[in-house]
């Protein structure tokens, strides 16, 4: 699994002068499941389209197996794509959709071979018996499988998937995640997967590439990305995080709110200001006297498995997940083990994330109504 298959070398992409990809360096190994993860507009789909051959980078090179392929059109790459909304041909049935690519092969292959290869694919995606169905009569999950089969039947070395589960409901999505992983292992090829859903990325990938603003923020295994985020953006985008300002006193000791905490990180300059990430589940609640810090509970939400509580520490609010209920207004102490504290270098994302002062901010979509009032009075022609 270590052989490099695809390499993007200092790729930059600009549309009408607007930079959507900024100097991307990315190496993708053979047979790995790699996920491009980020919010919309982060450049993940553009990266995928460059690999697929639908777009050429403004600057930089794309290599496939060591060969530069910038100018190779999509159908000459041994890469196939599963499109966002499937892009199935509605005028063709399931069989004809999957057979489409095979019929385009030059030199042509026999009808029998096409048929047997289509049938084989239908089996792999668990759609046996559906070959004569109209694609419009299929459910979202089934259409998804047809799209995957149609791309895989050409036996590409790499399958590109552009938010393939976005249109499915939650339950189906979970099933399809397992299904995709199974198909990838069955076919034994590289999958490059684009999503904005961090859970999906963590569950399926060998490697996760976190992107924002056209820049790769971090590349790593799901565990690395979660446990060792490189900056405040990654820490916030993947899971819940309390991010606070700290000062690195020396290796293994960080000062937060004027108190020293033990940690496992090192390699910073003495007294370097840093961002400190503390995951909500890594905080233990203890008696006030025994705690490293003392705070007041201001909000409680029951989440089934645990309570999400908001605790005020000198005006800075943390999210803590706990199985013990402490009522609103209670004074509590907290304890954090050294491996629960993660230190990050300061970046331009510092201070933007990781504060739960406005916890209800998850509902921040409501505030748009005020725009209406700005409308100018109608000026008649």
């Amino acid at each position: 699994m270590s052989k490099e298959l695809i390499r993007l070398s200092n790729c930059t992409m600009a549309f009408d002068g607007e930079v959507v990809l900024n100097n991307i360096e990315l190496s993708i190994n053979d047979k790995e499941f790699l996920t491009l993860l980020g919010p919309s507009g982060c450049g993940k789909t553009t990266t995928l389209r460059i690999i697929g051959g639908f777009q050429k980078p403004t600057v930089g090179d794309v290599f496939f197996d060591g060969v530069r392929i910038n100018d190779v059109p999509p159908h000459k790459r041994s890469v196939n794509t599963v499109f966002q909304k499937y892009a199935l041909f509605t005028h063709l049935d399931v069989f004809e959709n999957i057979a489409f690519g095979l019929q385009m092969l030059k030199p042509a292959i026999s009808k029998e071979e096409i048929s047997s290869r289509v049938m084989e694919m239908l089996e792999i995606v668990s759609l046996k018996g559906f070959e004569r169905r109209e694609v419009s009569s299929l459910s979202g999950g089934q259409q998804q499988r047809v799209a995957i089969a149609r791309a895989l039947v050409l036996r590409p070395k790499v399958l590109l998937l552009d938010e393939p589960l976005g249109a499915l409901d939650l339950r189906l999505r979970k099933d399809m995640q397992n299904e995709l992983k199974r198909i990838q292992q069955t076919m034994d090829i590289t999958f490059i997967y684009v999503t904005h859903d961090q859970e999906e990325a963590l569950a399926m990938s060998d490697t996760v590439v976190v992107m924002d603003g056209g820049v790769i923020q971090q590349i790593g295994t799901p565990e690395d990305i979660y446990n060792e985020p490189k900056n405040a953006f990654v820490a916030d985008f993947i899971g819940e995080s309390n991010i606070v300002d700290g000062i690195m006193k020396r290796d293994g000791v960080v000062e937060i709110f004027g108190r020293s905490f033990k940690c496992l990180d090192g390699g910073f300059a003495p007294d370097e200001p840093v961002d400190v990430v503390i995951r909500p589940e890594d905080v233990d609640i203890v008696e006030v006297g025994e705690g490293m810090l003392t705070g007041t509970v201001t909000n409680i939400t029951f989440k089934g498995m645990q309570y999400d509580i908001i605790v005020d520490f000198r005006g800075f609010k943390w999210l803590i997940q706990t199985t013990d209920l402490s009522p609103v207004g209670a004074r509590i102490g907290i304890k954090i083990d050294p491996d629960g504290i993660h230190i990050m270098k300061k970046s331009h994302y510092s201070g933007m994330f990781g504060d739960y002062s406005s916890y209800s901010a998850e509902y921040d979509d409501i505030g748009d109504a005020s725009i209406e009032a700005e409308e100018e009075p109608e000026d008649d022609l």
Partner: protein, 273 residues
């Protein structure tokens, strides 16, 4: 909101002015000139060679016009659908603008161009050709129909092509289709509903047209429309025979539309636009 009675007055109106007139046409078609039920009107059509020729001519000329419209209109719709949004808007406006001008005036324009001493013959004369007999020919009738009905072919095809999802074309390309194959295997089949409604929207008014043939065609280019008009308004007043001709035409057109709709199901949706 169950206020069904709101539609009752209009239902009565339709009964009086939509259903009743057509019922009268049907009754007249089976009525002899002197009164009494008869198949004689249809027999007269079948026995009359000029009338049969008019039927054949009407279908033949409007078929020609439909084919020409399709040959000109499909590429135009395709070019239009690929244009930038702003250019698309302007071109669409340009195509629709003449439709809002009275069709008689548009047809008159061609008389002045095709006349014996008309503009086109003058131009040809400069090149040492002609003068050619262009007005009062069946070709002029076809030209008139193409000119009048071309937008009806372009618009439905355009509206279908422009809605084809780009990712479908990319998918086809990704699966190894050459540009020609993308067109043949994806774009064209998907545009068929538009083609079907375009054909219907040119062919049906073409068959029944009467003013165009009267203005541009000669004495031997009379169409079904002229035949019907003559029986109702014109010199040979005979509404019984006229009704029979109208009925036969209506049935043939209905059968045609039925088959067209079967070829490109969903075509009707595009027709209403």
């Amino acid at each position: 909101m169950r206020r069904r009675y709101l539609a009752y007055p209009y239902v009565l109106w339709m009964a009086a002015f939509v259903v009743a007139p057509i019922a009268i046409v049907v009754v007249y078609a089976f009525t002899a000139k002197g009164g009494g039920a008869t198949f004689g009107n249809f027999a007269e059509i079948v026995r009359s060679a000029p009338m049969l020729r008019t039927f054949a001519r009407s279908f033949w000329l409007s078929l020609l016009a439909t084919v020409v419209c399709l040959l000109i209109g499909y590429p135009m719709a395709y070019v239009l659908a690929n244009e930038r949004r702003g250019a698309q808007r302007v071109l669409l406006m340009l195509i629709m603008l003449p439709m809002w001008m009275n069709f008689l005036l548009r047809t008159y324009a061609w008389i002045t161009i095709l006349e014996k001493n008309g503009l086109l013959n003058r131009l040809l004369g400069l090149l040492g050709v002609g003068p050619l007999q262009m007005i009062n020919t069946q070709g002029a009738v076809v030209l008139g129909m193409v000119y009048n009905f071309l937008p009806f072919m372009i618009l439905p095809i355009y509206s279908v092509i422009v809605k084809i999802d780009r990712s479908l074309l990319e998918a086809a390309e990704d699966l190894g289709a050459s540009p020609l194959a993308v067109f043949r295997r994806v774009i064209f089949p998907l545009s068929l509903p538009g083609v079907v409604s375009g054909i219907t929207m040119v062919f049906v008014p073409g068959v029944s047209t009467f003013a165009i043939s009267k203005l541009l065609g000669g004495s031997n280019s009379g169409m079904l429309g002229d035949l019907i008009e003559m029986q109702f308004q014109g010199t040979s007043y005979n509404p019984y025979l006229g009704s029979a001709v109208a009925l036969v035409m209506m049935v043939i057109v209905m059968v045609f539309m039925y088959f067209m709709n079967r070829v490109g199901d969903g075509g009707q949706e595009a027709m209403i636009l």
